[in-house]
Symmetry: D2
Subunit: 337 residues, 4 copies
Amino acid sequence: MEKVKIGIVGLGRLGMHHAQNLQYKVRNAELTAACSLVPEELEAARKRLGVQETYTDYAVMLENKALDAVFIASSTSEHAGHIAAAMKAGFHVFSEKPIALETAECLRVQKVVETHQQQVFMLGFQRRFDPSYIYAKEKIEANAIGTPFLVRSQTSDLDKYAEFQVAFTQASGGIFLDANVHDIDLARWYLKSELESVYAIGGCYEHKAFEQYQDADNTTALCRFKNGTMATISASRTAMHGHHTTTEILGTKGILRIGYTPAINRVEILDHYGVRQECVDDFYTRFETAFLLEAEEFINCIVEGRKPEITAEDGTRATEAAIALTRSYKENTLIRL
Amino acid sequence: MEKVKIGIVGLGRLGMHHAQNLQYKVRNAELTAACSLVPEELEAARKRLGVQETYTDYAVMLENKALDAVFIASSTSEHAGHIAAAMKAGFHVFSEKPIALETAECLRVQKVVETHQQQVFMLGFQRRFDPSYIYAKEKIEANAIGTPFLVRSQTSDLDKYAEFQVAFTQASGGIFLDANVHDIDLARWYLKSELESVYAIGGCYEHKAFEQYQDADNTTALCRFKNGTMATISASRTAMHGHHTTTEILGTKGILRIGYTPAINRVEILDHYGVRQECVDDFYTRFETAFLLEAEEFINCIVEGRKPEITAEDGTRATEAAIALTRSYKENTLIRL
Amino acid sequence: MEKVKIGIVGLGRLGMHHAQNLQYKVRNAELTAACSLVPEELEAARKRLGVQETYTDYAVMLENKALDAVFIASSTSEHAGHIAAAMKAGFHVFSEKPIALETAECLRVQKVVETHQQQVFMLGFQRRFDPSYIYAKEKIEANAIGTPFLVRSQTSDLDKYAEFQVAFTQASGGIFLDANVHDIDLARWYLKSELESVYAIGGCYEHKAFEQYQDADNTTALCRFKNGTMATISASRTAMHGHHTTTEILGTKGILRIGYTPAINRVEILDHYGVRQECVDDFYTRFETAFLLEAEEFINCIVEGRKPEITAEDGTRATEAAIALTRSYKENTLIRL
Amino acid sequence: MEKVKIGIVGLGRLGMHHAQNLQYKVRNAELTAACSLVPEELEAARKRLGVQETYTDYAVMLENKALDAVFIASSTSEHAGHIAAAMKAGFHVFSEKPIALETAECLRVQKVVETHQQQVFMLGFQRRFDPSYIYAKEKIEANAIGTPFLVRSQTSDLDKYAEFQVAFTQASGGIFLDANVHDIDLARWYLKSELESVYAIGGCYEHKAFEQYQDADNTTALCRFKNGTMATISASRTAMHGHHTTTEILGTKGILRIGYTPAINRVEILDHYGVRQECVDDFYTRFETAFLLEAEEFINCIVEGRKPEITAEDGTRATEAAIALTRSYKENTLIRL
């Protein structure tokens, strides 16, 4: 069968990660085009990945009708425009999260997506493709823990990356929009409901530089959902031990706990520090398999004429919720949605 | 040296546990008197513990001037009265938590305590005597995790005890006052600050019988402290795996995690359920050592003329906070203290 | 660049696993030919893997000079012949372990390999490519645990596969040759020495059917190496919890422990069985990444003109040692090599 | 009821530990006499433990007919003589292991014990009183793991104590008699059989000073039992992480694993070393509860007129086996018993 021909936009670290998966590891996929404003990135795409056609203008890439799909890994502020343009140009579209930093813009994009029902659209909530998160979902669907009523989810990044993130905080929308959209998406996925009220607090406990943007280095939010269930959502930029994404789902008949020790592998070290496991450094490592599986699912949906489980509405809802958390934090008050 | 002669009031399960420790395991202590309204309990005290003098009237026991100290394990609603009477009668006093279910009453008792500076008063926040909690405190004081900024603490009881707790919910003040005063005390201890605002949610996800008392079977609260730090405080009455008290303390340089697997011992079972550890059934088992160590500390304070670290004010503060959580839950709103 | 064209012989479960990796996941590899005596397997190769050329006669496949390399996953008794023929025909060769069930035959094959220095030969000791085992090796080389002096290694298979293995025991050479060659190879790798003496015991504790072949369902061997170091090597066919490969390396300054809980993923379940992790079912799952990485290394060696670290001599040594363990077990005596 | 009056001989670290338990923690026990050759130890017994009568001559202490029982914690070479004398003098006797360093002497003592059936004799195999080891025994008796066929047991001490142990190696009989008698006793207890053959190896991998006594700093032995079951028995003097006693019991239907992480408490530390638990320093800490429970059992046997499960024959058998391991190690050969 014909391989799905893909053009990617954005070749930063995550973009390059996707590009390599698409070119070498995803069956039925072929990365034939790449777009970036950075000449070195296009050079790398040609040399290291053998991408034939490279562009500096996204609109021009979209004129390439040999492409079947567009993979969007551009900067957050570009997502909405890039998605809409590619959908309108008739391509299948995969985009990194979030759709946008404002709800209204999400809704506009969502509408564009919904008016192109013949095309596949998928958003990069890669945790839903992590084998452990899938396993938890299957357990819940099989009624292994009764009815879920509380999700505790956190995203923690290594302290050594914090200073770099300061410059990035405005473009990313801040810690809730950047890190917690994933946790919010997971809570919605497992609890099957939408946020009703939220209270978010936190501070710049170690890195005061975030204060100038009303951002934080550590936050926690308590969320009540419309169906009466709960979630606590935390983010941290000061972890010393590793990238640490954890999620706990409490049900009436049992509990599932995901990722409590973010071990880098199956080795335990017994030395004068005790019995210990070393940990993954970043989310690329932690979710390496998930990034691959989500790309495979995107391609499989195209090949098999299916729609992904993740929709544009999921993206809108996550952004909407993250904005509510941000506002609660900035105003130090309870927000009801 | 002379042993400290103790009279105990209340010989329910926890009272009997204390009584056995005092009689057989605490050096320099001697349980010579017991007071209860239940004849069988007094019979047990005589027969099984060799307690010589038994009373049905607490006031009469307090007239026994051979006693040095009074140990209070009566029902929650009696604590305040029993503490005040014993302090006024000149005894050293150990009381189970909470002091009372209302702040005003706590303050009255606190004042009585503070006007009897020659007597030892201690409140049964036994977790502060658990070797793991002590170890965490020492690590923090030794600056092993930098500045603590977030405490996550939960108290979970086995589901099989839930139905029994329904009848008990009014007398105990509900789940926040009954279970979470411990977690609140720990958060105050580790974060060294007082609550500023709190939002508490939850529900009767499994046991609808709690609804009639506006109580819940699972709750979570998010607390902001005056020094800008945070705490999440949860309680559960539906655990299937065991009594599960966990506390996590996040600091700017590291994290301490206490009790994430409430294993009953050091045995792992590898069978067709996987690799697993069986868990402790109740807080008596989980905190067996802590109950003993707190009793020893009480006696040592008397013998050595010292004051315990835990004060009546700690009791007042914990009750005050638990009341705020309760109100936030019942009114579904943010409470600022 | 040109892809390495591969012909595979043997399309049983492991062969098909290799074939899929080669066809879809290994960069620079292309599976163009397959040989099997089973028509359904060739049909599957054509239909599911798109392999163009299929053979029932291995000698005929070797006449296909468009091939660059041969991948051998035939039955154990065929390995030696298949390796020698492919090497002599000028192909690069990857073969599943063991080379043969007798030392003399291993040595004959080893000689053939050594006389074809321009071709890559690699043996399927896939554990050396498992990320955890590599990590341990790197830690040791970086002197993290001082000098290794004891390796404890075991291979345990699920009890539910035991009855199937009875029929297979003669062709596989028995439990020491089938399961423990891997453990022996790891011990040699980490301890950097050869066996000096060995004592092996065991029995048919659950599956008496192995007795007729003087085979066992559980065994343990104690090995002394020429450099004075030690290894204990165990095998089990009666595990209830999962496939369980563990290796512990004790050094003078620390210990590394690999795979003590063979968890299937990062999920912990807290229910009435306790706190538990479910486990991997078989070595395909446990070593999925390793199988891929070893195939990549084989292809990379061809592409880059390198030789793999694993040599034919490693295969000979492992077989020789496994035979000594087998003899020690059958004769219930200490064997000195 | 009357308390059991006890005289202790030997007030070294372990003796003092026992003395404190007997005086303050064991119900129905009273430590009234102590014997030692070290004046400071007797002084400590008087001052810190309130022991009234102190002796430098063991024979004189045995003339004290107010005593009910003798607790022997003298040096290993004295055990046999002290046990026999106390039994003959009519006392109940608890003795630290081993009975003696030679089988013949064990048998002589065993005979003395067996001719005084009215007196309680108990040997200090304290691991049998550790809650985890008891739990494992109960699981096995309840058929939770089918038929046990392999015990893996090790005793590892911290490297920092090794140099001290050099001087002690002759008096203790070497590493097999000093450390492994416990492991041997556990293997016999769980496997319900006696040793048939044994092969022991090891070396001085870090501390060459043990070589002069033909002792080792790390050893492993493989044991075959008369009922066809197996055990591997290891000892180490070079652990960096903590005192590490582990025992694994493999049965036909499941596996029990005891003490794989010798955590000092329930705290996990997440810092730049990874996720870790700090470990117990020595066997006093690891077996603190067991030491108390064995003393309680000894007293309860006296009070209730029962005999302990552990017999003098258990002591003889363990010594006999440890001697076989020692001989196998020294002669580098298989020993059949």
